[in-house]
């Protein structure tokens, strides 16, 4: 029996629903799972029917931030609808930053808008009662393959191992820094001076949050080919509770020292190693791969 999925939205830009279309072999995935309802796909039921009916999904996928009222879905409030199906479902998968932490919508009305379990970095979401069945998949949007991985695990009757924010360790036990092709530039402190440069580390000059952002973007590539940091775009920390921060393309420094250091790296260790690395100039890393200019 195919796992029965119900995809419901709170306040959302549809980003996660669209992103999910990028899974490899979408047609196969649609045969593998039974969508009761998805906002963008032809499905068994319409939103009106879901709202008026009782479909007992195996997995409720929640996309978007939640608000007590003012978000009509079918004949009722989104929160009422989502809460009713959260009770019925075996699992509630929060897909994307907004469903998990409240995201950009929460910043507009921090007192009224939140995610399922979290309001930003604090507890205080709308689906606390269902904590034990919630699996959080933050990201803006959630990586389509992370969502597919989670659904396939549940289809096999296996619950992914979760961390203390109820994120699968297999997906969020890494930092975005891990697997980044620019790691050698980070080690030797060679910074990318221009946006989009193929060479150089983005941490110091371009605001890259990879070293302290959890996610496996550089392990499970996007569309199987690339990641932000590999392409030359700094990681903007979209899986973290404080996303979106301001000035995403700038590295905040205090007396030239990055205000945020790689996860759990002590300041003195960072400064000592940085000083050592900066004492040397590695010609291979200071040349551009294409052309003669310095990175």
């Amino acid at each position: 029996m195919a796992l029965k999925l119900l995809w419901l939205q709170g306040l959302s830009c549809n980003g996660n629903a669209h992103s999910f279309f990028n899974v490899p072999d979408m047609a196969g995935v649609l045969r593998e799972f039974a969508f009761i309802y998805h906002p963008l796909l032809p499905c068994e039921a319409t939103l009106e029917e879901v709202s008026g009916g009782d479909f007992s999904p195996d997995v409720l996928i929640v996309e978007g931030a939640l608000r007590r009222d003012g978000v009509p879905r079918g004949d009722e409030e989104a929160l009422t609808l989502i809460t009713r199906y959260a009770k019925q479902a075996k699992w509630v998968v929060c897909a994307g930053q907004c469903a998990v932490f409240g995201g950009i919508f929460r910043l507009n009305e921090p007192d009224k808008i939140a995610g399922a379990l979290y309001a930003g970095q604090e507890r205080g979401g709308f689906l606390d009662a269902f904590e034990k069945k919630i699996i959080n998949l933050p990201g803006c949007p959630v990586h389509p393959e992370w969502l597919l991985f989670t659904l396939r695990m549940l289809a096999l009757g296996t619950v992914p191992r979760l961390d203390d924010l109820r994120r699968p360790v297999e997906l969020y036990g890494y930092t975005v820094h891990e697997g980044c092709l620019r790691n050698e530039y980070f080690e030797w402190k060679v910074d990318a001076k221009d946006f989009g440069a193929k060479e150089g580390c983005l941490f110091y000059e371009q605001g890259c949050r990879g070293p302290y952002t959890r996610g496996s973007c550089n392990k499970i590539l996007w569309n199987g080919v690339n990641s932000k940091t590999r392409a030359g775009m700094p990681c903007i920390g979209c899986t973290e509770p404080d996303f979106p921060a301001e000035r995403l393309f700038e590295t905040e420094t205090l007396m030239s020292i990055p205000a945020r250091l790689p996860l759990e790296v002590p300041k003195r260790a960072y400064l000592t190693l940085t000083g050592m690395a900066k004492a040397f100039r590695i010609p291979r890393l200071t040349r551009r791969k294409f052309g003669e200019e310095e990175p």
Partner: protein, 197 residues
């Protein structure tokens, strides 16, 4: 074990002797035979401790840097205000100039003046890392506490250490009319005034 401890102590004595000779006569005018003679040991035996004069000079700068770093680390870890920390660092530095002038002389006249000696093995700031790390921590935490104005590290560092180095130089040249330590608080206030948020 006892033999190793003895060797370590002997190493320390050689470094102290070399330090005072380097500080007095400069790096190039001091020879290994000069150091050996003052230690009352043979030149050959001295080479059992240090392979070259350059290696000896590098070891000394690491030793000086570690000593400075340890004191600034203690000041950094204390509950003092940033203003008071500046005072403590300045007093410590000027105290050192009075009590162990050879350390400061070595730093200014050997390490900074003969960079080529420290090229291989002491690239960049590697040999002064313990000191640099703590001074960076001091500045970073001063900004974090809202006491110091956020700016480029070297702009702030140059103002602070350049000022102290300049005063130490004037003191070494016997140009200052008063004892160096009597300038400490006024200079600390000037540094704080220039760097505060």
């Amino acid at each position: 074990m006892k033999k190793e401890l003895k060797k370590e102590a002997r190493r320390g004595q050689i470094m102290e002797t070399a330090l005072s000779l380097f500080a007095q006569k400069g790096f190039y005018a001091t020879t290994i035979p000069d150091i050996a003679k003052k230690m009352d040991m043979s030149v050959g035996n001295l080479y059992n401790y240090f392979p070259s004069k350059e290696a000896l000079a590098q070891e000394i700068i690491r030793y000086v840097s570690t000593m400075l770093g340890e004191t600034i680390h203690e000041i950094n870890e204390s509950a003092l205000t940033t203003k008071e920390k500046i005072r403590r660092i300045v007093r410590f530095y000027f105290g050192l100039c009075e009590e162990r002038p050879e350390l400061i002389e070595f730093f200014l006249r050997v390490y900074l003046a003969n960079r080529e000696v420290f090229h291989d093995g002491c690239e960049g700031m590697i040999c002064v890392a313990p000191f640099m790390t703590e001074i960076m921590v001091f500045f970073e935490e001063g900004v974090r506490a809202g006491d110091l104005r956020n700016q480029d590290f070297f702009s702030a560092f140059g103002l602070f250490m350049g000022y102290l180095g300049g005063m130490a130089f004037l003191n070494g040249e016997r140009i200052l009319p008063k004892n160096l330590e009597s300038y400490a608080d006024e200079i600390a206030d000037n540094i704080y005034g220039a760097l505060k948020a």
